[in-house]
């Protein structure tokens, strides 16, 4: 849930990167961390296993500038993608303001994408959220890999509601900041809209 502090003049929002295991959620955050100026970011935390698989979450605090004298701070989280960490994924979705779904474009991961998207919808429902009403951006990652399926197929399988979507190659940063900007903007717009503003 966003948090507005009128004393320190800050708007804080929570973004969650969701998606199947090894799809590139952590890589998105690492790229953002690497390319953001030191004054705009805090430390990136990764709670990972010895083999660098996300165990609980990655966390990256970012400042995206000021609106009407209020600093906008975004807390970026990833979830562990592996199926058996479902309890952890539910916890990380608590208080979420916007979701990025990082899909893996490879044909052999299509089933995992669909399963993870269903899991997202289900876990949000359990927390009282409706994915169709939440700021939500779709990212098709690993577009450069030889077994990547076509954009049309990905769209048909994963984005029937036509949310904003981006093609990405997170290892080199293609599409990473476009995705971040889109979700941050959607969250602020929704926050304003929700207030009746």
């Amino acid at each position: 849930m966003s948090f507005i502090n009128y004393s320190s003049r800050e708007i804080n929002c929570k973004l969650v990167y969701y998606g199947p295991g090894l799809g590139g959620k952590t890589t998105n955050l690492r790229f953002i961390y690497a390319k953001t100026s030191p004054e705009a970011k805090g430390k990136m935390i990764s709670l990972a296993t010895e083999t660098e698989r996300t165990l609980f979450f990655d966390f990256l605090p970012l400042s995206l500038g000021e609106i009407r004298g209020f600093k906008t701070r975004f807390h970026l989280y990833t979830v562990p993608g592996q199926v058996f960490y479902d309890a952890s994924r539910k916890l990380i979705l608590k208080g979420v303001d916007g979701v990025v779904f990082v899909a893996d474009s490879q044909i052999e991961r299509m089933e995992a994408n669909i399963e993870s998207l269903d899991n997202l919808r289900q876990n949000l429902q359990e927390q009282g959220y409706d994915l169709d009403k939440l700021p939500f951006v779709m990212q098709y990652n690993k577009r450069d890999l030889p077994s990547a399926v076509s954009l049309a197929e990905l769209h048909a399988a994963l984005n029937p509601t036509n949310v904003i979507e981006f093609e990405a190659r997170a290892t080199t940063g293609v599409g990473v900041f476009e995705t971040l900007k889109a979700i941050a903007k959607a969250v602020l717009t929704e926050l304003r809209r929700g207030s009746g503003g």
């Binding site: 948090f3 004393s7 009407r68 916890l91 303001d97 503003g197």
Partner: protein, 159 residues
């Protein structure tokens, strides 16, 4: 999206003063108050070398995980936690389901004293959060959201 959590200057001042008093009365190294989703709200004491943002996020994750464990055990929320370190110990308490109160202390204090002082401080903070919630619901507090325009948001994202 549900209504945002808010904090107003008047209550922020009062909450900060409760933190400072708790820091003093509990002989603590530092006191931090964190929003339930991991945003730092107030602090007192020796926080200079601490990465407050990271500590806040990890503490919120920790509290959420402990809440998950309590559900599995069909237990009510574990309202407090204690981590014993070699030099620094951490006492964590939920405040009115809205915030997390963290006390860092060392050999200058004791768990008993910290618990005692935390109880009183948490009650005071709970009252202040109640006050904030009432003010926010009645619309008597300030509201930046009514002032923001689409153009302001666009401007933020124009390179």
């Amino acid at each position: 999206m549900s209504a945002p959590d808010v904090m107003f200057p008047e209550e922020q001042r009062q909450i900060s003063s409760v933190c400072q008093r708790l820091h003093r009365d509990a002989n603590a190294k530092a006191v931090l108050l964190i929003g339930r989703d991991g945003q730092p709200i107030a602090e007192a004491g020796e926080v200079g070398e601490i990465d407050v943002t990271s500590l806040s996020s990890l503490t919120a994750g920790n509290v959420a995980a402990t809440g998950g464990i309590s559900k599995i055990l069909r237990e009510k929320d574990f309202t407090s936690q204690f981590h014993e370190g070699e030099k620094t110990h951490v006492h964590i308490t939920l405040v009115a389901g809205r915030a997390i109160l963290v006390v860092l202390f060392d050999e200058r204090s004791s768990l008993g004293l910290v618990r005692l002082r935390v109880r009183k401080a948490a009650e005071e903070m709970a009252r202040l959060f109640e006050q904030v919630a009432k003010k926010a619901a009645s619309g008597t507090g300030p509201s930046i959201l009514n002032e923001i325009t689409d153009a302001d948001i666009d401007k933020l994202f124009n390179d």
